[in-house]
Symmetry: C2
Subunit: 309 residues, 2 copies
């Protein structure tokens, strides 16, 4: 990993030499901070600022903050450009980090699946898709999402790459979440294929997920007052959506206030007078942090089911 990071950094030497550089790294790379900072300085960076707020995607791009610090360039590790962000306040260099994948094993697992496969993956395994497609030909169909900027790429907010004509979805990744979204969006059989070559049918996970979300919606339906939450994160800020949702909730006879934060931590709303929340930013927040919130937190789509009509 360190070798790859150092190689990536020396590859952008011309963009950092003599410059003041700001850096964002995903949680998994924080352990290599010292080496990353040293490599940047060895390649000529005059000063380096490392953001340590947890970063889960390029939707949380810190270009404004980097400019405020006086940085000339922002290096964003671990993700590629997020579709909603087209202009930035200083130049941004994205360095996605590719992880190991057992291609041989992957191919043999895919060959045993009947029918055409809508194949997609997260940014960490993107470079393998072409190689697989070349070997398996028409059996593999690669689509393109809306907010994800690369062919075949899925995001926690965008499973759109599987929206192609195919018989089954296969998502190469090590979590279940993207598979649940893909299954819900297309209705068709969906598998997670782990980097080690394990094939997982998401069906039982979808069922558990739907039960959990059904409970959240039922609880929210009884709310007397709802907090509609906007995050100020660059690519996740949907002020107009929040205003519209608040209006819909009010029209349904329920009080609604618009709340704003950077991260939506459960501690922030403890003791506040809301019986339910709608989070308008990353759809993973209501779902991943389900057990940490004492009150139901709905996505925008779920809020429409509860209060819209």
């Amino acid at each position: 990993m360190l070798e790859r990071i150092r190689k990536e950094i020396s590859g952008i030497r011309e963009h950092i030499d003599g410059k003041c550089v700001a850096v964002q790294v995903p949680e998994g790379l924080k352990q290599y901070s010292a080496e990353i900072m040293d490599a940047l300085r060895r390649n000529g960076a005059r000063e380096v600022f490392l953001f340590i707020d947890p970063n889960f995607g390029a939707c949380d791009l810190k270009d404004r903050e980097a400019r405020g610090l006086g940085a000339d360039v922002l290096i964003h590790f671990g993700h590629n450009r997020f579709g909603r962000i087209t202009e930035t306040e200083i130049p941004v260099i994205y360095i996605p980090i590719t992880l190991e994948l057992d291609v041989k094993k992957t191919i043999s697992v895919l060959q045993e699946i009947n029918g055409r496969i809508a194949l997609c993956t997260t940014v960490q395994y993107l470079p393998y898709l072409n190689e697989i497609k070349k070997l398996l030909g028409d059996k593999i169909v690669i689509g393109k999402g809306v907010l994800a900027t690369e062919d075949g790429q899925v995001l926690g907010c965008d499973p759109g790459a599987c929206n192609v004509e195919a018989d089954v979805n296969v998502i190469i990744t090590d979590g279940i979440f993207h598979g649940i979204l893909a299954k819900m969006q297309t209705g068709r059989k969906t598998y997670i294929l782990t980097p080690a070559g394990k094939l997982i049918d998401v069906e039982p996970h979808v069922e558990r997920y739907l039960r959990q979300r059904e409970t959240a919606k039922i609880l929210a339906r009884d709310a007397k007052r709802v907090g509609v939450v906007i995050t100020t994160k660059r690519g996740q800020m949907y002020t107009d959506v929040a205003e519209r949702i608040a209006e819909i909730i009010r029209n349904a006879g329920t009080d609604a206030d618009i709340l704003v934060c950077d991260y939506f931590y459960p501690e922030y709303v403890e003791g506040m007078p809301y019986d339910a929340y709608v989070f308008t930013g990353c759809p993973r927040v209501p779902i991943d942090d389900y057990t940490r919130f004492k009150k139901p937190v709905l996505t925008v789509a779920e809020a429409m089911e509860v209060w819209g009509r």
Copy 2:
């Protein structure tokens, strides 16, 4: 409390009528969010955005974020203007909340103290100072801090209001922290006087505090690599100080990197390769969160003691 908040809000009706209003409240007022939001709308606010990130001072002013949401005005509850913030991106209305104080009891306690008293307090009890001064005359001396904008006001980063000719400091407040700072800055006898009239000598607290800080400095001295932390909070951002401190640490033969965050949460640096941190924002962070950090966190002044010379 609710009555007072409603009165304050109707008092600024002309500034909110027909406007899009953003609001910041301290943690203690979050429980009244519904009433605050309703009162703002009753007084004509077209839309209200309530920030829910924890707010501990007007140094953490969200005027930029409020403008980003499309707000016309920001109402900041619980604090008055912070000295470093002179210009804002949209108009800001500060509504400090005055808490109950037993003035009679306060006067009688002050009368029993020998010598001239440098009297100061936090924003919650500021309006009482004049009344007390009027009754006790020359016995009371009221100074002015640097970052605190009102006569007699102390902040967690600015005990300067006690820097006047006097025999003893008395700080009306319900915590110990400001007293420790005042004692350290002036060297003279310092008491906390609680709103209920209890007089507390800070001496033993200072001793405990100094032992705690000494330990932090001793641990930091052995650090191989130090993280110098900048916060992006509006009034607490000291980029130049961080750069200078990092340089001083490097000149002392120790590696130093500059880290950046909004809040400095202990979880953010877990697993990172730093043996000690210097926090360049609010000095309460290294001290109040002492037990939550696994590594020593120093203030800027402490860092100078360890690495400067």
